[in-house]
């Protein structure tokens, strides 16, 4: 990007983040997770392990925080004033938010993590040198570093036969993270191209969304106004772009929110608030 280029195309490069910033997007994949019907059952997490060749690290490494759960279900106990957790537990499926203005991207010294035209934070494994700056800079703690060559003991034969050949097994020294099942996106794109049509809503379903027994997870293209996910974003008055969204809501009580919205990172995941019947 030469200086001349910037001057000549200034109006293009000065676009606001809502308009995609300097990106020319084909798609902007996003997700909605309804915390009211999420039961915290761990199905999504298991499906993710099965789809994405995630290594099992064992108890000792888990203790050190080295587990590779791209999709993890967190559980919180809060505001328990009485003797009992009368309102149950709070479950939160946490995965890479594939931020539009991702904090992990600019700090990578070798541009191993970059923004794709599909709106994903991609991780180029063979470019990654393992500086771990990205994971240091991620407010969601959803980047996972291969401290060890997990393949050496994570898939003793014949467990290795289960590995998904559509994506690689990562080696020591490489950062990895949720990709929104990029291999499924690729397959769906190829299929649509072969059938000479544009991708339709529902062509790509991530492993987690597919497995979710309550259908709490909805995945799709937020640029396609007819997709289920776009409609949910619209209904909950949350739109793409990094600026605080609260002021945009005609009704502040509407459920949709994005985690750490105040950091202006433009997360691609819309969460819907958990509901509890306080009259009970």
């Amino acid at each position: 990007m030469s200086f001349k280029n910037i001057l000549e195309n200034f109006s293009y490069y000065r676009r606001d983040a809502e308009d995609g910033g300097h990106h020319e997007y084909d798609h902007r994949f996003g997700m909605t997770i309804d915390l009211d019907i999420c039961t915290g059952c761990n199905s999504c997490s298991t499906a993710c392990y099965a789809e994405n060749n995630l290594a099992v690290v064992g108890k000792e490494r888990f203790e050190k925080g080295q587990a590779m759960h791209w999709m993890r279900v967190e559980r919180y106990w809060d505001n328990i004033e009485g003797d009992y957790a009368e309102e149950g537990a709070k479950f939160l499926p946490m995965l890479c938010q594939n931020c539009g203005a991702a904090t992990c991207e600019p700090v990578c010294p070798v541009a191993a993590t970059y923004h794709t035209p599909d709106g994903l934070n991609a991780q180029v494994y063979n470019r990654c040198i393992g500086s771990r700056y990205c994971s240091n800079n991620c407010p969601f703690r959803v980047r996972y570093f291969n401290f060890w060559s997990y393949y050496e003991d994570s898939w003793p034969e014949p467990l290795n036969m289960q590995l998904n050949p559509d994506l690689s097994v990562r080696d020591k020294g490489v950062m990895e993270k949720c990709t929104f099942c990029i291999q499924r996106i690729r397959t769906a794109k190829d299929k649509a191209q072969r059938e000479e049509r544009v991708m339709a809503d529902g062509d790509v379903v991530t492993a987690c969304a597919q497995a979710c027994p309550t259908g709490a997870i909805v995945f799709g293209d937020t640029m396609d106004p007819d997709s289920r996910v776009s409609k949910l974003w619209e209904k909950h008055q949350v739109h793409r772009g990094p600026f605080l969204q609260k002021k945009d809501k005609t009704n502040e009580e509407i459920r949709g929110y994005r985690i750490f919205d105040e950091l202006n990172v433009d997360p691609s995941i819309l969460y819907l608030e958990r509901v509890r019947d306080t009259e009970v």
Binding site: I37, S43, T46, A50, F62, R75, Q162, P213, R276, D277
Partner: protein, 738 residues
């Protein structure tokens, strides 16, 4: 057919012996022959025209990880199965799957599978050839062995479909009635009550139609009846008008974690709470159905204050629940393990069911289920009564031959029952098994079987969630990984052939099953379209058969209830809750590395056992997270690390089932403790089930500490808002009632 068999006998061999088949004889397909079955065995080595390298093909099958019978689609690429997902056509799971279903592949590819037959020579099990194994089997239990009658037994997990048919057939040939069907995680007491009070052992529950669900320990989102199905219905229940969920249980289950109101009643007093609610409703005249004065009179003693005293649940809460049941009718009131498995479990569940009856829920949220037309194929549901019966038979030296399949009694039986020791009194133990678990390693002959993804089968779920009943077909998703494993059906068939020549017509279980499906009576084939000769391929493609079901109405009836709370001051002040978790289940999945690494849904602990305690109790004992406590019952003791939270009754200590294996491969062996081992041999009075939640214990500080390995650095959001919670009012204002 080489041997003349009459039509009726032939159909019975195939499992179609019941009513209806005789009438449809003329409609039976005549084009399908046994010989055709032989011809159509197509090896996966011959690529199908649609098998393109690099492209995954999805085949329908059935999940065998628990008894729910979810339909699966398995992705097969280059001859390997890579991933499973739910079969959208299955009315059980509607294309969804749970963590255990997803982990089927790790069971199938498990590095600790048994790869060749083994025979006990001296004190050790040694690898032998199949020829040697089968000749040992023939000489020990064949027609010339002289072994017959009730000295032969078989213990299995829940079985259904043609698996149940051939097990029945073999035992009938031998002349034995000893088929023990054992599952620790079961709903036997619930089923007994439903049978007596509703006339249907497994009624259909319409969660989505309920305004409020009151659950007495039924972990329907995690471990109760058909979890994946229930979760789908739960989503419908929460959407739209958004029903409310009240959960009463001593230890928070996954369902409790999702409740709007979670209440711990004193363990074993749940029945009193149900009767207290019923009494209050009747007093106020809120009941939708008239109650006979005799019942109302019995209920009289359950006044609000009396119930508060017994259960520890405050009066205002009891009143609130009663008015919720009334205001938000229809309701659904259910009961699960922590209510069922006490000595008074039957009466407690009957008290719970009484609420459904008086609130008029029958026919609304509880309906008669669709029964599969063919009785022989219906599920034989596992229980713990049969485990007690087996323990007694072993103790009394009643068995010469014992087959074990799909169950691990040496692990699940309380130590005091001495099942493990008793097994040594059985002359010849044959284990059909995939893994070297505790029971298998005690066998005299170990027959390695195919995994669920290598074997054929049919499954009829015990819980039928649709208006038509369903049979789910299990087909191999790939060639067997190990050369020396065989299908359970194949081995059974070769044993049957020794005694019943008619089975000689079937070269293998595949052809047996194919013939059976092709000869399905018309009242079963219901949903299968196409000419009769295409039935088999249609069923293979879809994976399920929806059979017509007779529509019976429920017949509500009140039973005599004698609910008594047991007081025990024998020096064991605490209640042990051996909790079940979606994941490791009763311990059968402890050898799956994924399921070991996934945190428990509530405690978030990984790779081990823990004991849950209330903060009050923990401070009394002077323990903090990670400290070890010793849990001692009259029958033994175990040690586990403490996890402290407010989702447990202060008088209860909960240790999850699943860990504590002495054997069972590298991922399970020597990890954690098994709470089932220290249970007292107490029985539920009316059903004879093992009262797994009735054991009293004392908990002492073991003065040992290790870091508790669990997910999450912080137990709270520390003031940040990751998970925001709003009230139903707010939801109604914004999204309204759909």
């Amino acid at each position: 057919m080489s041997v003349k068999v009459n039509r009726r006998k032939f159909l019975k061999m195939l499992g179609w012996g019941g009513a209806g088949t005789a009438l449809t004889g003329c409609d039976l397909p005549t084009t399908v022959t046994l010989e055709e079955g032989k011809e159509e065995v197509v090896s996966y080595l011959m690529p199908e025209e649609y098998a393109i390298p690099g492209i995954g093909v999805w085949y329908a099958s059935t999940c065998t990880q628990c008894e729910a019978g979810c339909g699966l689609h398995g992705r097969v690429r280059e001859g390997r199965v890579l991933k499973v997902e739910g079969n959208p056509d299955s009315p059980v799971n509607h294309g969804k799957s749970c963590m255990m279903g997803q982990s089927t592949v790790q069971s199938h590819y498990n590095p600790d599978r048994i790869t060749s037959p083994m025979m006990r020579k001296g004190s050790t099990l040694q690898s032998v050839s199949w020829d040697e194994a089968m000749s040992a089997l023939t000489s020990k239990i064949g027609p010339d062995s002289g072994v017959k009658g009730d000295r032969v037994g078989m213990i299995t997990g829940t079985v259904s479909g043609h698996q149940a048919v051939i097990i029945d057939e073999l035992l009938a040939q031998v002349g034995s009635k000893n088929h023990y069907v054992h599952e620790v995680i079961n709903t036997s007491v619930w089923s007994s009550v439903c049978r007596d009070m509703l006339g249907d052992e497994m009624p259909k529950l319409n969660y989505d139609k309920a305004g409020v669900i009151l659950s007495f320990g039924a972990d329907f989102l995690g471990t109760w009846i058909s979890p994946v199905h229930n979760m789908g219905e739960y989503a419908k229940f929460r959407k739209g008008a958004r029903g409310s969920l009240i959960q009463v249980e001593p230890k928070m289950t996954l369902t409790g974690g999702n409740a709007d109101l979670w209440i711990p009643a004193k363990p074993g007093t749940e029945g009193a709470l149900a009767l207290g609610i019923a009494n209050f409703i009747i007093e106020r005249g809120w009941n939708a159905v008239d109650v006979p004065s005799s019942i109302a009179k019995t209920l009289n003693q359950y006044t609000l204050t009396a119930v508060e005293k017994v259960t520890g649940v405050p009066v205002n809460k009891i009143k609130r629940i009663a008015s919720m049941l009334t205001e938000r009718a229809p309701s659904l009131v259910i009961a699960g393990a922590s209510t069922e498995n006490h000595e008074n479990g039957y009466d407690a569940v009957a008290s719970v069911m009484l609420l459904n009856l008086i609130m008029g829920n029958i026919g609304k949220t509880i309906e008669a289920s669709a029964k599969f037309p063919e009785k022989a194929l219906r599920a034989k549901q596992g229980n713990t009564k049969d485990l007690l019966l087996l323990a007694k038979a072993l103790k009394d030296n009643k068995l010469d031959v014992l087959f074990t399949y799909n169950t691990n009694p040496a692990f699940t039986a309380p130590a005091v029952l001495q099942v493990s020791e008793g097994l040594s009194s059985v002359g010849f133990k044959v284990a059909f098994s995939m893994f070297p678990d505790e029971t298998t390693l005690q066998a005299d002959l170990v027959l390695p079987i195919h995994s669920g993804m290598e074997d054929w089968g049919t499954h009829v779920p015990a819980y039928q969630p649709d208006t038509s009943s369903v049979l789910s077909l299990q087909q191999p998703l790939m060639e067997p990984i190990h050369k020396e494993t065989r299908g359970f059906g194949d081995i059974m068939l070769s044993m049957l052939k020794l005694r019943n020549k008619n089975f000689g017509d079937f070269p293998d279980y595949y052809s047996y099953l194919q013939t059976a499906v092709a000869n399905m009576p018309a009242d079963v084939t219901g949903s299968v379209e196409g000419a009769s000769k295409d039935i088999w391929s249609n069923v293979l493609q879809k994976g399920i058969v929806k059979a017509k079901a007779s529509a019976n109405a429920l017949t509500p009836k009140l039973v005599d209830m004698k609910f008594k709370v047991k007081h025990d001051n024998s020096g064991y002040p605490m209640h042990l809750v051996p909790s079940a978790r979606l994941g490791l289940w009763d311990g059968r999945h402890a050898n799956i590395p994924w399921l070991q690494e996934f945190p428990d849904q509530i405690a978030k602990v990984v790779w081990g056992s823990w004991a849950e305690l209330h903060p009050k109790k923990a401070s009394e004992l002077g323990v903090k997270n990670g400290d070890y406590v010793r849990v001692t019952s009259a029958s033994g003791s175990i040690e586990a690390q403490v996890y402290i939270h407010k989702g447990i009754h202060p008088d209860a200590v909960s240790v999850p089932m699943g860990q504590g294996h002495d054997e069972f491969g590298r991922y399970a062996k020597g990890r954690g403790v098994n709470p089932l081992k220290i249970l007292n041999p107490l029985m539920e009075r009316r059903t004879g089930e093992l009262a797994t939640h009735a054991t009293r214990v004392k908990v002492t500080n073991a003065h040992k500490h290790e870091k508790l390995v669990h997910l999450g650095g912080s137990e709270t959001q520390v003031g940040r808002k990751f998970v925001k919670t709003i009230s139903v009012d707010q939801l109604r204002r914004t999204e309204g009632e759909a």
